[in-house]
Amino acid sequence: MNTAKDYLIFLGRIWRLSWQGSWKYNSWMILLGVVSLVGLNAYAKQFVVGLETTGMTNQVSWGAYIANFTFLVGVAAAAVMLVIPAYIYKNEEMHKVVLFGELMAIAVIVMCLLFVTVDLGRPDRFWHLIPPWGKMNWPISMLSWDVIVLNGYLLLNLHICGYLLYMKYLGRKPTKLFYIPMVFVAIFWALSIHTVTAFLYVGLAGRPFWNSPIVAPRFLASAFAAGPALLILTFQIIRKATGYWIGDDPIKLLRRIVQVTLSINLFLLGCELFAEFYSGTYHAASAIYLWTGLHGHDALVPWIWSALFLNIGALVVLMSPLSREFVPLNLACVALIIGIWIEKGMGLIVPGFIPSPLGQIVEYTPSTNETLICVGIWAFGALMYSWMLHVAIPIMRGDLRAAPDSSTSISLKPQPAT
């Protein structure tokens, strides 16, 4: 009984803490809240009228929602790039920040689930996916696998973060059995979410552009570049905006990881382009449409070339000693995040539908309403993550703790001033 009471007190304190912040924090949250509501408003309109409010058609039946979903699954999976150094290589510095990656994974998976939900024509029937009431087509449908792995990954991370934070709050040493096994399961699970999402496309024999074994490895390589790049930026924001000190070591290690993953991504891209353009079969039509335009239709050409140059530019900067300084490093990170976001959306999802299986070329541009919904979900994701950091950091610092008078519960070692 007492344990339950303690936990309720904990939740109550979290709730109260959520509403206390500096004016900067408050304005940031109000801004994100307003943008989220604008997105919700756009979604309410879509719910009433139908997906006609989007730019999608019978020919291009997936668009910005699924593109953002695909990109974000990768970002969520990239939390393992902190978990592996922290737990397998026992990197002390990484251990101090690994929770930030896991919290980000939670926020991003929720964004993924939102992007899928807004894409549904009948969101009122989402329960058809949930056994035993629904009729999930498992194990045949890759989409049913995706539902399982995404929700599983969300639960794993919720458990790991929730448990560790609560133990820290209580000032108790976490019992290894209660979280270490989950951490290791989560490593493989993270790989699975992006692999399964890739298989969603790879499994379609009628779409030659996607029906290629290179899609899954490319998904992982690009995700493990974009995700850590986002973490590099996030860590700097956290240490500037909150009192939580993050050293340079995790950032240096992440930079090295991005150097490798981005190189692999570009190498795999080269392999893909060679296969498509050297043999030049009619299966290359989508790739031709994407990179050079097809029969005078070339809406995606500027996008994909920008993505390529952003990625190459980012790699050059990251490989050079220049990126030991923060400004060039951050610019490279921003460039590669945008580059990979374009690559996943305009570069992978949309051209898979163009030309259509019957040779029609119908181009796609997201509508305003559709864009507002996307922006709203991004804002809501940022809102969730900001909130999680806002309540987690005081716990991690030892400011918010169960025993108010004792300072013995504080295990965080002060950093030596340099």
Partner: protein, 320 residues
């Protein structure tokens, strides 16, 4: 690079300020502003048509779990809804497949003249949404105009106009191939689309969640999505309807050709065959050795579109 300052944990009162009258009022004001924002964001929901989502449909079970009396009830609900929304009371039935039947369809590329009568007849029969009278965008049949000398669909024209047949062209109508190894039914995450015992791939419009994964999976572009509530004039409605085929679809679900199962399961031909002026279309039972379709499969030069996709269609093109 940047450096840090030592961390001294704050006192709890500093981290979590005690609740005062001031903070309480501030919190209340913020909550009220938030709720007001939420309500105004959701305002468009007020214009949702009443009765568009009925409780019966919302809580309906999967087709395979429906008892006959459940189905009767649902059919009644759907009939009333159609009358209320479209002004026509249809007769909706749940027509079951016949034993010992596997439907197959063959189309002569030699005979087809590209008149698109099949695409229009499909619309008249199957109650698809249309924005104007001869709008065939949602028709289950797309007629491709191809240049003689090649059979590459990528060079096809879907929007050809003028008198047909043109001298240097030939025509290929494409509709659902009712594949034996159907990638669309594999893709569906909720088993809302499946192959019936007579080989027809159907969709339960009351179960489909509208994810459109089946559309991405289809190599024949045979599926259509209801991006909005179907628009169809009172006089254009075919009141003879069935649950798994031509009843008017709700918004947000996928639909497709069912070989007109409400006709063919009762011994009639599909609407597209009946209207064809050249006799290019042959429909029948693949399990009946004496059927015309079997004669064609045994004796004519048969072409299967995209055979390399490995979906084993039951729709065949042939040359006379």
């Amino acid at each position: 690079m940047a450096n840090g300052s030592p961390i001294q944990p704050k006192r709890v009162e500093e981290a979590l300020k005690p609740l005062t009258r001031r903070t309480f009022l501030k919190g209340t004001a913020a909550t009220m502003a938030g709720v007001a924002g939420l309500v105004s964001a959701l305002r468009p929901l007020l214009s949702l048509e009443r009765g568009e989502i009925t409780m019966d449909e919302l809580l309906q079970k999967h087709y395979s779990q429906l008892k006959p009396e459940d189905m009767q009830h649902i059919l009644g609900v759907l009939e009333k809804k159609c009358e209320r929304e479209y002004g026509v009371k249809p007769d909706i039935r749940d027509i079951k497949p016949l034993a010992g039947v596997q439907f197959g369809y063959a189309l002569s590329l030699t005979k087809c003249i590209g008149c698109r009568k099949c695409a229009h007849a499909c619309m008249a029969e199957n109650n698809q949404s249309r924005d104007y009278d001869d709008d065939v965008n949602m028709s289950y049949i797309r007629v491709l105009e191809l240049a003689k000398g090649s059979i590459n669909v990528e060079t096809s024209d879907h929007y050809y106009t003028g008198e047909v047949p043109k001298k240097d062209k030939y025509y290929m109508p494409v509709q659902c191939h009712q594949c034996q190894e159907s990638p669309c039914t594999k893709a569906c995450p909720v088993q809302a689309t499946w192959m019936e015992p007579d080989g027809v791939v159907t969709v339960d419009y009351n179960w489909c969640i509208g994810c459109r994964y089946c559309m991405a999976a289809c190599p024949y572009d045979a599926r259509r999505f209801n991006f909005k509530k179907p628009t169809i004039g009172e006089q254009a409605i075919n009141p003879n309807q069935s649950y798994l085929s031509n009843r008017i679809r709700p918004k947000g679900v996928v639909e497709k050709c069912t070989f007109c199962l409400h006709r063919t399961r009762e011994g009639k031909y599909p609407a597209c065959l009946e209207v064809c002026p050249t006799g290019a279309r042959v429909f029948g039972n693949l399990l009946d050795p004496a059927s015309e379709i079997n004669y064609i499969l045994k004796n004519k030069r048969v072409y299967i579109l995209k055979e390399d996709a490995g979906t084993v269609p039951k729709f065949y093109y042939y040359f006379d």
